[in-house]
């Protein structure tokens, strides 16, 4: 873990390379955190991986979290590790929820794919792509190019939080069934929401098994 001045230096240098990338730093409980603008997450990760003297070459973990009712609502956490120095660095990218009423207008403008490329619509084609676009999911660039280990973990974040990763090679659900509807680990998703078929409630439930 870099010490507090070291963390500030890292933040300054990233911002020197591209202004506004690092939004905030925090250094508490023995963990150093860089809070990064989600639109520039790849710049920050690439800088941390490739700059001589930094070389955080190992992505130990990638996971998402939902901070409802806070705004911005979602965050992606990248646990970087420099193995020779045994230093961990926690990078956090905050993501607005485009479906929430307060952020809806600004985020629709952002949804145009960069560079005019056709937008990446995972797992669906044709009409399905439009259906998924209407879901209004938060988006972030995929870091699979930088860290191949992120492939499964980004699929997991998509599966449970509905965060779409632009440029992910194979963005499908991984642990939930592929035809599942909903993002189960969002905080507003109810616990125990699956109806279970017993003999006493088979009248209320659809008799699909007949």
């Amino acid at each position: 873990m870099p010490d507090a001045p070291g963390l500030e230096l890292i933040a300054q240098e990233i911002n020197g390379a591209r202004e506004g990338t690092v939004v905030e730093t925090s250094h508490e409980r023995g963990a150093a955190t860089l809070i990064v603008d989600s639109e520039r997450i790849l710049d920050a990760l690439r800088w941390l991986r490739d700059t001589p003297g930094q070389e955080y070459g190992f992505l130990a973990s990638l996971h998402a979290a939902d901070y409802l009712p806070a705004q911005p609502r979602f965050a992606l956490h990248y646990e970087l590790l420099n193995m020779p120095r045994v230093e961990r660095l926690h990078v956090k990218a905050l993501l607005e929820d485009p479906a929430s009423p307060s952020t809806a207008p600004s985020s629709t403008a952002k949804r145009v794919a960069p560079g005019g490329a056709p937008s990446h619509d995972p797992g669906v084609s044709g009409d399905g792509a439009d259906a998924l676009a209407t879901l209004n999911l938060p988006e972030i660039d995929s870091c699979v190019e930088l860290f191949p280990t992120a492939e499964f973990q980004e699929r997991e974040a998509y599966d449970f939080f509905g965060i779409r990763f632009r440029g992910h090679p194979d963005l499908r659900r991984i642990l939930m069934p592929e035809d599942y509807v909903g993002w189960p680990q969002r905080r507003d998703f109810p616990l125990g929401g699956e109806p279970v078929l017993f003999t006493q409630n088979e009248v209320e439930l659809p008799r699909w098994y007949e």
Binding site: A65, Y67, P84, V86, T149
Partner: protein
């Protein structure tokens, strides 16, 4: 700091040149196994500069297979699993085959997903412990340590010395137990069923030790936030000492059973090699990474429990094939026995759980005399303790690699998010690179040496 952990390769595990069995392998093969389908060259062993067509390349590198014309066999996609005896659980592999050759492979997981992480958000912190230890059902102490260690760092409490030593003892016993199950089932996958019985004999002795100290054979819920649940009982030390004396000899026996077994050597040597840099890119940790020659062990470098005070070494391999993975895990069992017996001999006197009345249950005998203790007990059992808001990622070295626990605390008595970075889940991504180009029999070997636990993958 990391340099101290490096162990010279000459202490490594493969006296390749002197080994008589290995020396006469080529002749033996020529005589007896001219076209043995279990003998295969991996892609990395193939000479560079071969034709760019993938199938032609694979075909040309295989002894005895040149007579099969390229393109004669049809490509076929089959399902292996989810109910296959060699997939160690409900893992489904969509395998594209040409004859017996694996052209592509996609793991499909999620069949035993139980929503543990979601459920944890609805439980107070002390009720989360039995949940998370059911993820990876062979390394339950490690999940407890990852979670409890993370919450302890969020609460900023220090655990007593005796608790650290007791945790080390049980973690290392758990590592032996996990490796024994791995060894037994993997050897059975490769056709050596008797090893399974021997391994399970010793495994039961470990489980007996768990039962003696904690009351449960598996899923013990022994670690608490602040220390361990109870002190070890009378007679435990003697039994553990006897086990530690006997176990190295048992590991020698397993090695004798397998290390000179020609079928085992044929099926593991040179199979499933992935370069070390590629393993690091794929996020692989644990024995798989160490077998490829990277001496990375969190017990040496991020030492929360005092492992660096003991005399032990990190075993590493030199080639990174199935055989190295086997040897690294065998050596790890020996090292774990060394650590456990040193921790037992150096076990300090004192409390086994921190004296934090807001977090730790008061001693039972105080409940009838102290009002204060009764109130604390009531508050802890009904509401649980509150953790100041913050978020933290804490890794431990589990038998399969880096097991990380990420907890978001929002100031209430329930965690806002509990996430486990399971090593099997991440390591599984390397399976494709190990298998493509090899035979389907080698896929079984690679999977066995990968040691995935589906409960941990699916959570």
């Amino acid at each position: 700091m990391a340099d101290e952990t490096r162990i010279p390769t000459e202490q490594g595990l493969r006296p390749e040149d002197e080994d008589p069995v290995l020396a006469d392998l080529p002749e033996a093969e020529a005589a007896r196994h001219g076209a043995d389908p279990t003998r295969v060259a991996t892609p990395s062993a193939s000479p560079p500069g071969t034709p760019d067509d993938e199938r032609a390349r694979v075909s040309a590198t295989r002894d005895g297979w040149e007579d099969v014309p390229v393109g004669e066999e049809q490509v076929m996609t089959i399902n292996m699993g989810p109910h296959h005896p060699a997939t160690h659980g409900v893992l489904r592999l969509v395998v594209t085959l040409e004859g017996e050759r694996v052209l592509d492979l996609k793991p499909v997981v999620g069949y035993v997903h139980t929503g543990i992480e979601k459920n944890c958000e609805d439980k107070s912190y002390w009720k989360v412990i039995p949940f998370v230890e059911r993820m990876d059902y062979l390394s339950y102490f490690f999940q407890m340590q990852a979670f409890c260690g993370c919450v302890e760092r969020l609460l900023e409490i220090e655990i007593p010395e005796r608790a650290k030593y007791l945790r080390v003892i049980f973690l290392e016993l758990n590592r032996i137990h996990s490796h024994l199950v791995w060894l037994g089932t993997s050897a059975m996958d490769l056709g050596a069923i008797s090893v399974f019985w021997y391994c399970f004999r010793e495994r039961d002795r470990v489980l007996d030790l768990f039962e003696l100290a904690t009351g449960q054979r598996m899923h013990t819920r022994y670690f608490q936030v602040g220390g361990v649940f109870e002190d070890i009982p009378v007679g435990f030390a003697e039994k553990l000492r006897a086990f530690c004396e006997e176990m190295p000899g048992r590991v020698d026996q397993y090695q004798d059973l397998l290390d000179r077994n020609e079928i085992f050597l044929h099926r593991t040597k040179g199979i499933g090699v992935v370069p070390r840099d590629r393993l690091l890119e794929l996020g692989v940790t644990g024995p798989l990474l160490r077998a490829a020659g990277e001496p990375w062990d969190l017990r040496k470098v991020e030492d929360e429990l005092g492992y660096t005070g003991f005399d032990w070494q990190v075993p590493i391999g030199s080639v990174g094939d199935g055989y190295d993975r086997f040897r690294v895990r065998l050596e790890e069992m020996r090292e774990s026995v060394k650590i456990a017996s040193q921790a037992l001999e150096g076990l300090p006197e004192g409390p086994w759980i921190a004296d934090e009345r807001k977090v730790v249950l008061p001693p039972r005998d105080e409940l009838s005399t102290s009002m204060e203790a009764l109130i604390h007990h009531f508050k802890l059992v009904t509401e649980g303790f509150r953790v100041p808001s913050g978020e933290l990622y804490c890794p431990v070295e589990s038998p399969r690699g880096e097991l990380g626990c990420f907890v978001v605390a929002d100031g209430s008595a329930k965690p806002a998010r509990v996430h486990f970075r399971d090593p099997s889940f991440v390591n599984l991504q390397a399976l494709r690179e190990m298998c493509v180009g090899g035979l389907i029999a080698d896929l079984i070997q690679n999977l066995a040496m990968l040691d995935p636990i589906l409960g941990g993958i699916d959570r």
